[in-house]
Subunit: 186 residues, 4 copies
């Protein structure tokens, strides 16, 4: 029955995302949060769907008042010492992602990688690697959550959790966030 | 304790997303799926974070072999009779979203709106409106899931469920999807 | 001979661009330049190829040290009183362009429109309209410079002229501009 | 006088662009045009302002009926044997541009590089390199056309010349181009 694939997939993605997020290292999250208070500007990088997840995070950081840039967009800035560069990459091994981490490291920026592969190339250049244990060999995975679906859904929620935490730490409010929302969004 | 806000938010977003998705109309999902088999090309529109959710869906549709365009990107095409235009808009009332729906309707395209507000302006021009009941007046919502967070997380998963369903209906495989994946992603 | 169309087109575009630029009002350019010194942040808007011309200008403004945003990109900000909103629109009548001008005006921003049609809708909401006399009924135009080609090429050069002027007025140097160039451009 | 810098810059950019374009190899342009008739799909790549020039070309190729993709945008496709990959890069040496050329070459695509540096790294992987002699040590250059301004303005016009030529060769018309223009451009 066609109908069931939709609902089964919805359930499967949510169940696995919950499982994956429960395994994220609390210590790593603490370290990432600390970097937000020690860094100047925030730069996000990601390709494909991981890039969209990174951009969604960037939008909320702007709402929280952080000076934020998305690497590859029209308006960006040179990364400098003391900036925070966050790279989202499922494999942790695509050349542009690894190169971005390496260059950022050489510029003395703080580098965080969020990746689905432990000991990936990108980890070598990152101060902190948040490891998302999204790999999964179950047969259902291919059917209900093809390609990077579990990684991306997990990181989407994880980053919104960081937003809620920063919102609290900075004693900001939803209203203040709304006031920083784009008025001329197309 | 700062720590708890992160984990509480993660839990809250997942709990509410589950609740919200369980209320989506099965009949509407069936109608949307049917349109995928009756339409020619697929066009996606959304602004801000809703736009990112729409783009993530577009990427997977390309992997499934659909000719897909994102309205507002460099490469797009004129919408024509028989095309499917899907608009993601939390409020269902921002002018560009409503205008996109109206123009698409006038061009005899099939129009689907995915929105968090029942009876919104956009619904007038849509053949099908998938209503996402993400509104929520709980105090915790502002703290753990500010602004459109619940709407966006819910639609992200919902659209991945549609992907799984189309994958099954079209008898496609994850491997075939991977072969349509961009090789030169930056 | 195929060959000649390429070279004839190159010549034609340059000849016409020169003619078009020579008719731009010096007084209007002076007024636009003045606004750069009286405004806070700069916002650019344009669709299609006009949007690309606007973005090219935005990149250089960043190099000159202006806080600049491109409306519609991931990272943007709410337009406020005292900001400068510049809209590039060949027809001056597309709904999103006119709407952007109207909203910006209502927010008490300074609004500049650069358009190919005198007395277009957008002019009603603009403090200054830089009129680019790119309309041309010559037969060769359709062959050598189809659609908005002359408007876009003219505005590209015009905006680079404004950059040179601001570079001089602000006593900036090419070296300082280079230091603000993105280091992690993808 | 401030005023003069604007007009002097406009004149300077146009004068130099004319000079630069007159030195482009006619033989190389012929070879590029030939590739348009021998290739399947067209892929464009460029970063920063060069990327905007590449995108402007991509939009017109769509108007001419070519299946065109911009590398790095949401909707793209895997490059395959027989596709044409065109890379615009002033220096011809930025890592992502060179890497794009190398990967495209390894995939048996036809590779064209448009660059301001003869014998650049990118040329090693390109079937054809269109060399734009935009380098210029004149003092005025820094003042009137900082950074890559001359390269970008020259390539903008050059690519519009190729469009006019393809328009003629394919016996297309401006009207047909307009009919392929996006109707829902934001």
């Amino acid at each position: 029955m066609e109908k069931n694939v939709f609902w089964d997939s919805i359930d499967y993605i949510q169940l696995k995302t919950k499982e994956i997020l429960s395994k994220v290292s609390d210590k790593d999250i603490e370290k990432v949060k600390k970097l937000f208070f020690e860094s100047n500007r925030i730069f996000l990088y990601g390709a494909g769907r991981s890039g969209l997840v990174a951009k969604a995070f960037a939008i909320r950081l702007v709402h929280l008042g952080y000076q934020t840039f998305v690497i590859g967009e029209t308006i960006t800035a040179p990364v400098q010492k003391g900036d925070l560069v966050i790279i989202v990459s499922g494999s942790g091994e695509t050349i542009p992602a690894v190169m971005t981490a390496e260059i950022a490291r050489n510029l003395d920026a703080n580098v965080v990688s969020i990746t689905g592969k432990r000991n990936s190339d990108i980890a070598k250049f990152a101060d902190i690697t948040v490891y998302i244990k999204a790999g999964c060999n179950e047969k259902e995975r291919k059917k209900y959550a093809p390609l990077g679906t579990l990684f991306e859904a997990s990181v989407w929620v994880l980053l919104d959790g960081i937003i809620a935490d920063l919102l609290d730490s900075k004693k900001e409010t939803e209203e203040a966030m709304r006031s920083r929302h784009a008025t001329l969004e197309q």
